[in-house]
């Protein structure tokens, strides 16, 4: 089985590459389904492997919290507590699709962090030092939820898998700062309330030239080239163009940016902006939102998000923007009780001054 | 209350070298009490103990009827203090120093202060730090007087001042005393000065009070006697023999305390004769007293 899946993947990819230009979306979809199959097979194999391995050890354990399943050995790791914490978050994101976790368990191998004894190489399961605390374990569970991976189009747009947000408010605050400080017109206009600008900044426009959509002014284009890609273009055929761009030629800058390989062009907003958008859509859409998102392979991302959220994309973006604005981080880092603590210290030190040994002449 | 200052059984220690032991001291109300003693005898320390600047190991100090250090803030409001070294805020001008001081004393008398200011010829605008030693001394005395204290504690108030300034300062002090009937506790190296106006004398040496008597008794009581044919062993006379030294020939010189003229009859014995009774002034008396006090141990 192992052998078979290693053969399958390059084959599919080779086919796809050979036929590029003819029916790219169709081929991509095929590749997606092949890859999905492969991953699914791999995951099942892993699970079986891990169960088999686990059986070897005495006292192995299967922890179940909701649909969340963990196969592990007896260890001091507080896995159950972590699972109890992680499950509501997982459930709220994947909804009904979280059921599949019953068949896709986590395989966790606790290891002694201090041991120097050589261990046999492991094919599956995650090795975790058994001195981890609940918080970091929860984090680990959330970032490695073994649900079926999303299709490549979604992954490419999002920049990773759909995962529960661990500190949603912190992430949103981060997005706010990014919206405010990103040196791009698109993100600024989005901040001010231009939803179409949000669409551009989040890479949700159907077809069109990303260079023009993301970097609206010549100055932005120039600064992206000079700040980010000087090292990249600083050789060969691009050198002259780079110099022209540096000297103020906008067409040279645009040309350079267009020559970047697909995915090479930096988007105005980062991964966390898109993650929070997906989070908003999933929470709006109810328990089968994730299912709709995963099932709508082949449609433009904007439509898929709209479908998942059960709401028009522009309304979704407005909701998202409103949530981001609501999560504006607290700026001056003085906690509310900081005032009293500072005054308390002031009084305390003043009293020290009172009690000084200076109060007798010597 | 008969005494303005009373000290009982006072003990204080600073380091290994210096100690004040079993100090008893009484300053009557309205007296001008001269506090004598060589350098390092503990005069300044005693004064600081008296004002609560130092904490005694044992003993009781009562000033103006209140106990130190319990009522120290209350007492200090009624006491004018001129310390050995002037130590006011050097940046404040004379006028500002006055205002600063005045704010702390409810009894402060501005018109008296103004008069002294003119009398002492002090410049309003001059910062304290730039005053000459004499001007500083005058200002310190001015502050102590203008607060109209019941008790003045003066630690070498005229030390290092020229004679003209010294006279001005002492005149102002005596003027105030005769006006207010205040008690004065004053230490000075200038014994002649004290001799003019003190009515009580306390002599301190090595952390102990040697004697404490009215000035008249001190001055009249210490005499040098020229004696001849006296018995070898000092008999119990009505007076105290502090020292006896042979002079040229058969005579001896006696230093006596508590002398009274009628005691000349003591020498009326056969072969004994009192040639002369020599008066000593305060300074001589003080020096002789110290010498004999230290003598036996030296």
């Amino acid at each position: 089985m192992c052998r078979k899946r290693w053969v399958l993947l390059p084959l599919g990819l080779a086919c796809a590459r050979g036929l590029i230009g003819q029916e790219l979306p169709r081929l991509q979809a095929r590749a997606d389904s092949l890859a999905r199959e492969w991953r699914h097979a791999a995951a099942v194999a892993d699970a079986i492997d891990s169960l088999e391995r686990a059986r070897v050890f005495v006292g192995h354990d299967t922890i179940r919290v909701g649909a969340l399943t963990i196969v592990t050995n007896a260890s001091p790791l507080p896995l159950r507590e972590a699972a109890v914490r992680a499950w509501p978050l997982i459930d709220s994101v994947y909804g009904d699709d979280a059921r599949q976790l019953e068949e896709r368990p986590y395989a966790i191998v606790p290891v002694d962090p201090d041991t120097t004894v050589e261990r046999p190489p492991r094919h599956n399961g995650t090795e975790i030092p058994w001195d981890q605390d609940v918080a970091s374990l929860t984090l680990l569970l959330l970032s490695t939820v073994p649900v079926a991976p999303a299709d490549t189009a979604l992954q490419r747009w999002l920049g990773g898998e759909v995962r529960p947000l661990i500190h949603a408010d912190v992430e949103r605050a981060g997005v706010y700062v990014r919206l405010v400080t990103a040196p791009f017109e698109a993100s600024r206009r989005c901040l001010i309330g231009d939803i179409s600008a949000c669409r551009d900044a989040l890479d949700l426009f159907g077809r069109g030239d990303p260079v023009a959509r993301w970097y609206r002014s010549a100055r932005e284009r120039r600064s992206v080239v000079l700040n980010t890609f000087t090292g990249y273009f600083d050789r060969g055929t691009h050198l002259a163009t780079l110099q022209a761009c540096a000297n103020g030629s906008d067409s040279a800058c645009t040309q350079l940016l267009r020559s970047l390989p697909p995915g090479g062009l930096p988007r105005p907003l980062t991964h966390d902006a898109r993650t929070t958008l997906v989070d908003v859509a999933l929470h709006l859409g109810g328990r089968d939102a994730y299912h709709r998102l995963a099932a709508s392979v082949g449609l433009p991302i904007a439509d898929r998000l709209a479908a998942a959220g059960g709401i028009a994309i522009d309304s979704l973006l407005s909701r998202w923007r409103a949530e981001i604005l609501a999560s504006r981080p607290t700026p001056v880092s003085l906690p509310p009780w900081g005032l009293w603590i500072a005054l308390g210290w002031t009084i305390l030190f003043a009293v020290f001054g009172l009690r000084s040994s200076r109060w007798r002449v010597n | 209350m008969t005494n303005a200052i009373e000290i009982h059984n006072l003990r204080y220690r600073a380091g290994k070298a210096f100690e004040i032991r079993d100090l008893e001291l009484h300053v009557p109300h309205g007296a001008i009490y001269g506090f004598l003693g060589p350098n390092g005898s503990g005069k300044t320390t005693t004064m600081r103990l008296m004002l609560g600047l130092l904490r005694p190991l044992a003993g009781r100090i009562t000033v103006l009827g209140d106990e130190i250090p319990r009522d120290v803030a209350h007492i200090l409001g009624r006491v004018g203090f001129v310390p050995e070294q002037p130590h006011l805020d050097p940046i404040l001008t004379v006028r500002e120093t006055l205002a600063f001081h005045a704010a702390f004393y409810s009894t402060w008398d501005w018109s008296w202060a103004e008069r002294l200011l003119r009398q002492f010829d002090l410049q309003d605008r001059q910062p304290f730090g730039r005053l000459s030693k004499g001007q500083k001394g005058k200002l310190m005395m001015l502050l102590a007087l203008a607060q109209r204290p019941e008790l003045l504690v003066l630690d070498e108030p005229t030390d290092g001042l020229d004679p003209v300034v010294r006279r001005e300062v002492l005149s102002a002090l005596l003027d105030y005393v005769s006006q207010r009937q205040a008690t004065v506790f004053i230490s000075s190296h200038l014994v002649h000065e004290l001799e003019r106006f003190c009515d009580w004398v306390g002599v301190m040496d090595d952390g102990r009070l040697i004697t404490e008597v009215p000035m008249e008794r001190f001055k009249n009581g210490i005499k040098r006697l020229r004696v001849s044919g006296a018995p070898r062993t000092p008999a119990d006379g009505p007076f105290v023999v502090l020292a006896r030294e042979p002079t040229n020939g058969s005579g001896e010189t006696w230093l006596v305390r508590d002398w009274e003229p009628r005691m000349a009859s003591y020498f009326d014995g056969p072969g004994v004769s009192l040639h002369e009774v020599i008066d000593l002034d305060l300074e001589d008396g003080f020096v002789e007293l110290l010498r004999t006090f230290r003598g036996p141990r030296a």
């Binding site: 600024r188 003085l334 210290w345 | -």
Partner: protein, 218 residues
Amino acid sequence: MFRVMLYSQWKWSRLIVLLGSVAGFALPIISVQGAARADSSPLQAAELLRTVQSWGVLYPVLAATLGLLVAIASWTPDHRGRHVYALVLPVPRWRYVLLRFGAGALLLAAPITAVLVGALLASWSAAIPAGLQGYPVALAVRFALAVLVAFAVFFAVSAGTARTAGIVLALIGGVMLVQVIANVARVDLDLVGKLQLVVLNWPGPLAIFTGRWMLIDV
């Protein structure tokens, strides 16, 4: 009583207070110089934040310096006179210390007000990009607290004798020594780090100085 005390301390610390006020007034205004030019480029927000943040480092420095110098100036007249005059004044010690402390704190109100006025002026005059906001009052409050804490700390140290200062230094030296010995003996002990953690984090005494000092922030 308080008036004369205030006056004497004013005479000692007027130069510090005046310079501190000028610096406190100028600092917020200089820190938004980048925003003053009417520039609607989207590059501006990030750049402005960077400038504001880099100037922001100076607020805690200014606060600590002011606190230190005014605290020293508060005690200078007494130190000069070896405290004899202060001890002879007919006020209880606690009241005298309170007067000195109050006068120093009141003098520090000048630079604090200067920071507030400067910050208000700066955030009013600067063209603040959308999404950013000026926090002049919050900044001034924080500055005021930092100045007060610094003043109180140095006031207490300065009130002490050389012996007190020696004890404080010896304590710090002792901690260092234990740390060095622990390191040599390969004992896992991070005293200095722990101490730093305790002192510099809330609710530690110096926590007010840490963190970002932003006149303009998101």
